[in-house]
């Protein structure tokens, strides 16, 4: 990989200053960025590590729900979110493998918006708020297609705030080699309705299955979605599964998530 200048600030304010440099890019756990740099698909001139910033670490209940610091590794979310938001904790505990979970962070995952990543489904289904160094972005406005988000140049996530649903579950159909989602569905039931987010399936990245949301808001049972079908028009098709296979998985996994939600 190409070399770069490395900076490791210890506060958000210092990270903002460092990221103002020409060609600067944030680095979180690096579990995606390092492989990308090895392939020379990314070649930042300055890398600003965000993992030394104490105010971006940790999980706690606060205003608006569960506050997760953007530099919190998956393993910590898996452990510390378990009492307050078990479905989110279970999702974090199923990402990659234990060593990846010790480095990879929620902020990195949400900023990258891989179309098969787990966290975007939780953020979108929970109607979470993505807090950055300069503003707050609603999940519905944040995800803008495969590897595309509302983040501007140099902007970085500092925290994600999750409203905690009454019941929720994430069901992932593993792609066993990469451990990403071949397709996965997060169902979250709130007092004012149900949200269903799908990852791994669409060419446009994570999306809400609004037809299922309407049906499940009226009747939270698998019967409510049995008559629905998912179009395969925008679905990913690759050697692991055809578009039609993924479209079918969306419905099957939504049913399983409804059954698993508690």
């Amino acid at each position: 990989m190409h070399n770069f200048e490395f900076v490791k600030p210890s506060s958000i304010a210092d990270a903002v200053k460092a990221l103002a440099a020409e060609g600067a890019q944030p680095l979180s756990g690096g579990q995606t960025l390092l492989p990308t740099m090895k392939q020379r698909l990314a070649a930042p001139e300055v890398l600003v590590s965000l993992t030394g910033i104490a105010e971006m670490q940790g999980v706690c209940m606060g205003e608006g729900g569960l506050h997760v610091g953007a530099a919190t590794p998956h393993a910590v979310v898996a452990r510390e979110a378990a009492p307050s938001y078990p479905a989110l904790a279970a999702l974090a505990g199923g990402i990659g493998d234990p060593a990846v979970r010790n480095r990879g962070t929620i902020g990195g995952s949400v900023a990258n918006n891989d179309p098969a990543a787990c966290y975007p489904a939780a953020v979108l289904a929970s109607g979470a708020t993505v807090v950055t160094d300069r503003r707050r972005i609603a999940a519905d406005d944040y995800f803008q297609g495969m590897f595309t988000t509302a983040l501007e140049e140099g902007e970085f996530i500092t925290q994600v705030i999750f409203p905690v649903p009454q019941a929720a579950a994430y069901v992932k159909f593993n792609q066993p080699a990469s451990r990403f989602a071949l397709t996965a569905v997060f169902v979250a039931r709130f007092a004012d309705g149900v949200r269903v987010a799908v990852t791994g399936a669409s060419n446009n990245g994570v999306f809400r299955w609004e037809e299922a949301e309407a049906a499940l808001s009226a009747d939270f049972s698998t019967a409510a979605i049995s008559g629905l079908s998912v179009s395969d028009a925008d679905m990913i098709s690759d050697l692991h599964g055809s578009a039609a296979y993924r479209a079918n998985l969306v419905k099957v996994l939504t049913g399983r998530a409804v059954n698993a939600a508690h």
Partner: protein, 161 residues
């Protein structure tokens, strides 16, 4: 190049590194600790697993400079003070948990991390935890037996196949 300092296997060490120097290359080339292996170099295989501040990480996917100041443990730090094999290493030998040995440093480090978190794991927990460590020789069975034995459980009770 800058001087990167950290604690490795209980000793303070430093070596020159570029920003892009991976932790595994810092250990192997900078410090001569070649027990940690580079298998896939894409964070799939786990041959490069070491502990950073007590947590298992894939050292091919971490920059050395990003963990400067950390407490790192490698396979070279797993033996007892008198040079005899540590508990996990001895269990791998006793139960034939290796054949070619290439994945073994990572297997031992991941197994030790598991036992630190969960001192008496079930067979299923061991298999699940070692998901990120690939072995092409053993079929995993004897590795799982070795980890059961290292945790003080009866590996003989595990099914033969």
């Amino acid at each position: 190049m800058t001087k990167v300092t950290m604690t490795v296997n209980g000793k303070s060490v430093s070596a020159e590194a570029e920003g892009r120097t991976l932790l595994v290359n810092y250990l192997r080339e900078g410090l001569g600790l070649t027990g940690t292996h580079v298998g896939c170099d894409t964070s799939q295989c786990g041959a490069c697993v070491v502990h950073v501040d007590g947590k298992a990480v894939k050292s091919c996917t971490v920059f050395a400079v990003d963990v400067a100041g950390s407490d790192v443990r490698t396979i070279e730090g797993m033996a007892n003070a008198d040079g005899s094999l540590g508990v996990v290493q001895q269990a791998f030998q006793d139960h034939h948990g290796l054949q070619c040995g290439f994945c073994t440093p990572g297997m031992v480090m991941s197994s030790a991390a598991l036992l630190a978190e969960n001192p008496r794991p079930t067979e299923a927990e061991i298999r699940h935890y070692l998901e990120g460590n690939i072995c092409r020789c053993t079929g995993y069975h004897n590795i799982v037996k070795a980890v059961l034995a290292a945790s003080g459980q009866d590996a003989g009770a595990m099914a033969a196949e």
